[in-house]
């Protein structure tokens, strides 16, 4: 018996995986960046299917809204003609494909052999309230540290990307 959830799950999985593959294999890297955004969106929709709308909205805001746009801008800044030759040769590619297929086979067979294959959903999905209680209770220090990490990373990125006035004069 196939119902709407199954169809949605299959479609969203294809979007997530197909977007990821096109991110890596699209010939123009700008299309790759768009494929990556599609993959993020597919993953966010899978979060919706798992009854986690808050995380899904957060994923769309941060990944599709911020990271994908950041990636697009970087791609435009470093655009150049020779995006084509960015892969290894066919031999190492074939080796990578074999490795990856072995990885998938071993992971999937271990999932199916474990007791996880009979797990059923929890009766009630976790709620927003629980997320808030965790973030302000036991994980409040982690939240503070995360704020520091974010501030430090933004400062670091700004410092790295800053053009020194002297270097600029020299370059021009």
């Amino acid at each position: 018996m196939v119902d709407a959830t199954d169809i949605a799950f299959a479609g969203l999985s294809i979007v997530a995986i197909g977007g990821a593959v096109s991110a890596l294999e699209a010939r123009e890297i700008i299309y790759g960046a768009v494929g990556l955004a599609a993959s993020f969106f597919g993953v966010a929709s899978l979060f919706f299917l798992l009854d986690s709308p808050f995380v899904a909205a957060f994923q769309i805001t941060v990944y599709v809204g911020a990271v994908a746009v950041l990636v697009l801008f970087t791609v435009m800044l470093v655009r150049e003609g020779r995006w084509f030759g960015d892969s290894m040769g066919p031999a190492s590619r074939a080796a990578a494909v074999v490795t990856v297929l072995a990885l998938i086979a071993s992971l999937v067979s271990s999932f199916l052999a474990s007791s996880l294959s009979t797990a059923t959903e929890q009766p009630t999905p976790p709620s927003f309230v629980q997320i808030g209680q965790l973030l302000t209770g036991p994980y409040a220090p982690a939240l503070e540290v995360l704020a520091l990490v974010l501030a430090a990373s933004v400062l670091g990125a700004l410092t790295l990307a800053k053009v020194e006035p002297a270097a600029e004069k020299e370059g021009s």
Binding site: D6, F9, I29, V43, S52, V67, D86, S87, L146
Partner: protein, 102 residues
């Protein structure tokens, strides 16, 4: 038939494998950034799926919130490094960025 936990785990494993494939075969710094982001997303699906199926509280969702924020911080720094590398080398092929090689 409802979607089972293993279905989500299989999707996550395939996404993870795609990310590993990118890390193994690509030399363009931008593609490597894409691969890392795909890997992080695969891990996040696992967190949310295990949370939904095996744990009554929202611990996994909270972990994913932290993970998404950290991935965004990491993406900002890596992309700044890519821009600097491009400015110095006119190229983002990571096999040519070997100034630190001993």
């Amino acid at each position: 038939m409802a979607v089972a936990l293993t279905d989500y785990l299989v999707v996550s494993a395939i996404l993870f494998a795609v990310g590993v494939y990118g890390l193994l075969t690509k030399r363009n710094a931008m593609r490597l950034v894409f691969s890392v982001e795909i890997l992080v997303n695969a891990a996040n699906i696992n967190f949310i799926a295990f949370n939904r199926f095996l744990w009554p509280a929202a611990l996994g969702q909270t972990a994913v919130l932290f993970s998404i924020a950290l991935a965004a911080a990491e993406a900002a720094v890596i992309l700044a490094i890519v821009v600097v590398a491009y400015r110095i080398h006119d190229d983002v092929d990571v096999s040519e960025l070997d100034e630190l090689k001993g």
